[in-house]
Symmetry: C2
Subunit: 851 residues, 2 copies
């Protein structure tokens, strides 16, 4: 072995080994060597060397074998740059042949020696000689007889004797592993995990420590880690199996546990000294590798060998606990702890659960495919789900089974229920990915999507619009809306979030329309409400009637009379919100939707309304027709309504100001923010501002109390972004409503895009659905233009984003770079946003950027 | 009179008089003096002087009166900067009093002298003393008795004797005229005509030439001009009245004509020498004032006096003839001729008429309120009119009477018919302003807008959607669509347009969907078709059925089978268009509208369709429901349809290419332009381009003939404008569709904006309806961005605009400045666009800009 040839390197404390040239496993093994852990002798082959092997250019086998002395037994493992990218399976016991078998039989016993030889022949037959694995199905894979049978099959099929030269064996194994890496399937699989097209594979060749033998002390193999993978809490965990090799201990029930266990002798009992050594080794790895590690080990005649160390597998909850512990123990910095958590994985920690004390009206059981529980109205198609979400009504998407066309519907739903499918069905996989409660395979329910009904075994029939609850944690479907418990986030979560808030340099608020939303926002430490939509407040039965009277009013006076009756209700809404938010800012968007949303759309509804308002039916239908629109998204809504029927905003402004005074009496002073929707021209802001100022003056006058408020604009039209300089003259803040802005920038209705969005994303027309990931190039440029022009006109202008995109890490990075003050997102995305924002700040610190 | 006081200036050839300081009349009079015309002595008072008079600061009357010698008789007239801004009426015979009356009685006779005195007393009483004009209603305004009576009324009412001092009289007249100008009503009226808030008034004080007298030769007054005001053709025209003053000759039937006339003696007969002199004077004015002038004159004892000259009043047709004649006579340059015509006034020259030989099925007679004739479907509301226009269906707006809320509906309609109203009703005034054929007061028709019917006296009932014709030229309403004759534009029009084309430096094309449109475009010398919408081609009955089969196809193959049947029809459409356009470019927009526009919307229609397609009704209703959209404007249309159902564009491309080959066989080679609608991402263009190129290759292959074509993009979404650089990489042209671009930039549906647009424009929220006048600030910036980025990426990129705005002079100025290659507008706006474009080029030449 030449010192100047880094392609083939004996791993020593100083050998030139790096993850980028030899792979993560080679690098990790070197770290273990540096820690003086008992690592068997190991040689690393670089990416370049392996690439050449795949091309047929074999290294000198004698050079490679030299460090291992004569007649070695070796194992070969993959070492890709990122362990997640996968690679070919390890091959054990390379080097064994008839002669060595006979020798081992004398020291280890015939059975153990046969087992070692047999394992290698089988691996070689399948991976190198490419024999069909089925050939070995009927062979008794045990003992000398099994070995003889496997060798017979090998020689029959290949018409060659099994190779006896260890150099030949090793060369063939290396070649087969190198080629497997370059195959198309393997490449596509790892690219799907984010590997670059030219990702390299390193290989490590390691001297075997045999876990088999007799009479000279305990022999066996296993894995050990110091924390629980499900919780991240300290707990010595792992598997051990006497007389085993490789990862045998992880398969089947035969393996023994590490610590005392009623089911049989444990490693601790069999080899207490080795057990203690292993714990010490793993502790040292944690300390010095600055990560919670799992050690793979072999005990050979009572001697501990550490074959490998890998990052402890973990779910999101455990990941948070582990990162926080490492930082609390001073092993990593808090910044490091923050960087170790994928923000989107926080969703897993945040699920609501059905209150265990709540009565459960169970309709069916299915497979618990994605945890958490949610209640909503039944919808039978993705389009209906999107429409429902657009109306702000939570819905449960009910499908025979889901397909990629349903993804947008799933995004729009609060839970998914399918008749067919299992844990790996589309709905289950996607549901888990999205953190969406999901029950699949609820086959006792009879789905009739065309008739839009769901038949329950007990004879009940549920229709579109009926409310059910999906409990994805235990796989149940319930009628109605049982009480829920918010997800409990533990200490580690709270600690991590606290650290995130310390380093974070962009605000995070929540979009919250209801007291429940506001409470969730508080629980997640949102820094206020960035978007409170007021329209839902008028859909409650008693208010809806008054709303309709308002709509049917003949003039401003009649309209005002109806609005006067809505005022106290609206004031009460705001008082409650202000109290929950305890003095934190609440940004209230003035009334936005078109009025026809408040009118019934069918004949029966019209008749009822005519009765309720004591009007001829023809008057009602005529008004409904007059208010109907070709393109409601682009119609008479938002500030257009505010200007043509100014009484609505007058009432809302008064309600906000009166609530401000009321809520400030018994708590922190409230400074409400009032946001004007759908602005496209400066004059709209001027006109509304004049009336809002007048309402404020009137309330101050009547009550003799003072208060302050801020008025701003929701930037949802491209024109508002372009004209931000003049709009900012009358606004103390601009908040970009990226939902509508995306619709208008693309000329694309979110409600109607479902029919072709999947085709579009599949064909790469849009790299991503722009409603789910902010379109930086187009919509983003308008945000940039709006921000720059607004700030230039008014340097203290507060800038924010309040669309669905607000919680996405990509959007947060964009908004931070553009100098935004805060992002606002749905309450459950607040933790994701807080963490993502913190990570960008840490990254900037690392890159030496001032923030 | 001091030479160094320009506030009060005797008008001489060299006196410092300018229109900007003394007004247009003063300046014109000076020009007449310079021509040595017999102008009575005149003093001009500057704007400043008059402004001071209004404030009570009177000039020295003796100085003012000095040039006129002792005992003058004077007239005072207004002289505003622009004659169109109006001003107080002239006051004649200032200076007359009892003594002068007696003296005049001796020279002119008692009756004439009394008439002169009486005229002044009455003017003074009404305008200076502010007596009620009704007071003089019962007075016999004639002879010495009338005079005595008028003086008595004056003295009774004012309780003062009539002032006898000419200086006092003049001072009072000047004061009253100065104050009248500064009154609120006068100011608002002139501001409505475009005058600035601080527009000044000058006054001219002129020695009277008396048109009254006896025995010493012909006396009288009148006006003369050398062209006909209706046609602009040479014809001596005017009125003359013996024994009259001021503009008496223009009132009543008593006036005599200038030339020989069977109705009585003419000026030519009474005073042939004076008549010839007047013609010579007026010719000289035309020659030297470089304008067709009307002279106001008085003949005093056979002596001709020219009191004033004003621009000949004229309609648009005459204006063109006059400007062209002046240029052809070498009096003004061709550029000047072009600048003298208001482009929008060209509309008046362009009206279609009903063919006189066509049979007429007359339904009613009304008032011919706005000339021209048009046929279309009946609609009963402005909203329906807009919807109809949006569908590309010409419609006649039928209303009881119109109000400002209907203006957008009138813009959308091809003609207007009202039950009520006269020549000055809203519909008539607005209709004429827009050049929209209009019949008002058709009261024999029974309008029932609620039932959406129109009852004809003969018992026939017409419903919404039925086709009628409005003949605004003779006030008739006809059933059906009689044959039309295109408006005949005379030689002068053609000459002027030719001059415009010589100087114009931006192209003008027409939007033309049908052969008729294309023919009109040719007639108006459009330089090709800038936008040919193809969708209308599928609405004809036989095609519609095939379209519906296509829509109901289950897969691409079935769709292709239906499209194969549409192909020959589509090909024939294009062959016809190409032949009409004779090798000029034709830009064809690929299929754009959502498919649901081709499906019936009511139950009966569904049943018929189910029958026609031999499908269960439920299949039909389900498909109709599936295709319905929340916001069709932002839905599945344009390139989105082209990508998800590529067979449609495949068929269209093939039809275009096959037609190209066919039409090139017997005429100029055709180079079609293919335009992709509703693009928002580069990849959309790439995908369509690939298939269009493939279709071209296939057609070339099959036919063995070569052809070229250009592929480009219609920029209708803000995103397409922002991403123009990358879109231009695959486009040889970008054409901005400002209709949709305006909708998306504002987030405002044209179909739905009607409900609040009038409020918005009234309150100044939008300075203009952005669908009628390009929003330079917002939409314009996107055009600018798109143009700059596109050209930077591809310097030879052809840029154009093809929305409704294309024909507006303001848009043309914008597009010229932004370096666009052409504008495209509806065929009837082509002449307006050609002239407006020429004017901007002339203006740049004048300002020394290179073009």
């Amino acid at each position: 072995m030449q010192q100047d040839n880094p392609d083939i390197t004996l791993i020593t404390q100083t050998a030139p080994v790096a993850a980028t040239t030899h792979g993560g496993r080679a690098k990790c093994l070197q770290r273990l060597v540096r820690l003086n852990l008992p690592v068997p002798k190991t040689v690393a082959l670089s990416f370049d060397a392996v690439h050449r092997i795949a091309g047929g250019e074999m290294p000198d086998m004698q050079v490679l074998l030299e460090p291992f002395g004569p007649a070695p037994l070796l194992c070969v493992r993959p070492s890709s740059e990122d362990p997640d990218w996968g690679g070919p399976g390890a091959v054990l016991n390379v080097g064994i042949n008839d002669a060595r078998y006979l020798k081992l039989s004398q020291t280890l016993g015939l059975r153990a020696a046969a087992s070692i030889y047999l394992r290698f022949v089988q691996s070689f037959a399948i991976h190198v000689a490419r024999l069909d694995p089925d050939m070995f199905e009927d062979v008794a894979l045990d003992g000398p007889e099994g070995l003889a049978e496997v060798l017979r099959v090998y020689e029959d099929e290949t018409e060659e004797p099994f190779p006896q030269d260890p150099a030949v064996q090793l060369a063939e194994v290396l070649r087969s592993m190198a080629r497997a890496w370059e195959g198309t399937t393997a490449r596509l699989l790892r690219q799907a995990k984010g590997a670059p097209a030219d990702a390299g594979l390193g290989l490590v060749v390691q001297e075997m420590a045999l876990g088999l033998g007799q009479g000279q002390g305990e022999c066996g193999s296993g894995v050990i880690q110091l924390v629980d993978s499900k919780t991240g809490l300290p707990q010595i965990t792992g598997r051990y199996l006497s007389q085993s090799q490789g990862r045998d201990a992880l398969e089947g029930d035969a393996s023994l546990f590490l610590e005392r266990d009623p089911r049989g002798p444990s490693l601790q009992e069999l080899e207490p000294e080795g057990f203690d050594q292993l714990i010490a080794h793993t502790r040292l790895m944690r300390q010095r590798l600055r990560e919670e590690m799992q050690a793979e080990f072999t005990i050979e005649n009572g001697q501990v060998h550490v074959l490998d160390g890998v990052r402890v597998a973990r779910n999101a909850r455990a990941a948070v606990r582990i990162a926080v512990s490492l930082a609390e123990d001073g092993i990593i910095s808090r910044d490091d702890a923050l960087m170790r958590i994928e923000p989107r994985s926080m969703n897993e920690l945040l699920h609501r659960q059905i209150d265990p004390d709540a009565p459960r009206d169970r309709l069916a059981r299915g497979i618990a495919a994605s945890p958490g529980a949610a209640s909503g109205r039944i919808v039978f198609s993705a389009a209906e789900a999107q429409a429902s979400a657009a109306r702000g009504e939570p819905c449960i998407l009910v499908r025979r089974e889901t397909s990629p066309e349903d993804i947008r519907g799933m995004h729009a739903a609060v839970a998914v229920l399918t008749e067919r499918g299992g844990m790996t069905s589309h709905a289950a996989v996607i549901g888990r990915g999205m953190g969406l409660p999901c029950v699949v395979g609820a086959s006792s329910l009879s789905f009739q999507p065309r008739r839009k009904t769901l038949m329950v075994p007990d004879g009940r029939e549920f229709r579109a619009g009926d409310i059910i609850t999906v409990d994805g944690t235990n796989g149940e479907v319930l009628a109605g809306e049982p009480a829920m418990l918010e997800a409990a986030q533990g200490d580690a979560f709270q600690t991590l979030m606290g650290w995130a808030d310390e380093v974070r340099d962009i605000g995070v608020r929540a979009n919250a329309d209801t007291p429940a939303d506001a409470q969730t926002a508080r629980n997640f430490n949102a820094q206020g409400i960035g978007l409170c939509r007021t329209e839902h407040m008028f859909f409650e039965a008693d208010r809806l009637t008054v709303m309709r009277e308002m709509i049917f009013a003949d003039d401003g006076d009649d309209r005002r009379a109806a609005l006067d009756r809505l005022l106290p209700m609206q004031r009460a809404d705001f008082i409650e919100l202000f109290r929950i938010m305890q003095g934190q800012p609440v940004c209230i968007r003035l009334f936005d939707p078109p009025l026809h949303e408040f009118l019934p759309s069918d004949r029966a509804g019209h008749r009822e309304l005519a009765e309720a308002l004591d009007l001829p039916l023809s008057d009602v239908t005529r008004r409904v027709e007059a208010l109907s629109e070709y393109n409601p998204m682009l119609g008479m809504r938002g500030v257009r309504l505010g200007i043509t029927m100014p009484e609505i905003y007058d009432m809302q402004a008064r309600a906000i100001f009166e609530a401000t005074i009321e809520a400030s009496k018994d708590g922190a002073p409230v400074v409400p923010e009032i946001m004007i929707p759908l602005v496209s021209a400066k004059r709209e802001v001027e006109l509304v501002k004049t009336r809002i100022d007048a309402a404020a003056a009137a309330v101050r006058n009547e009550t003799g109390r003072d208060f302050t408020f801020r008025l701003g604009v929701m930037v949802e039209t491209p024109r508002a972004a372009l004209r931000a300089a003049e709009i900012a003259q009358h606004s103390s803040f601009l908040s970009f409503g990226t939902n509508d802005l995306t619709q208008m920038t693309y000329g694309l209705s979110r409600d109607d895009a479902g029919r072709f969005m999947s085709t579009y994303v599949q064909q790469g027309v849009f790299p991503e659905d722009p409603f789910h990931q902010l379109d930086i190039e187009g919509v983003g440029e308008l945000l940039q233009i709006g921000a720059e022009r607004g700030r230039e006109a008014r340097p203290d202008l507060v800038l924010s984003i309040c669309g669905e995109h607000g919680g996405n890490p990509e959007s947060i990075a964009f908004c931070r770079a553009a100098g935004f003050n805060y992002v606002s997102c749905s309450p459950f995305r607040v933790p994701v946003a807080r963490l993502a924002a913190a990570q960008f700040a840490v990254l900037d610190k690392m890159n030496g950027k001032s923030t």
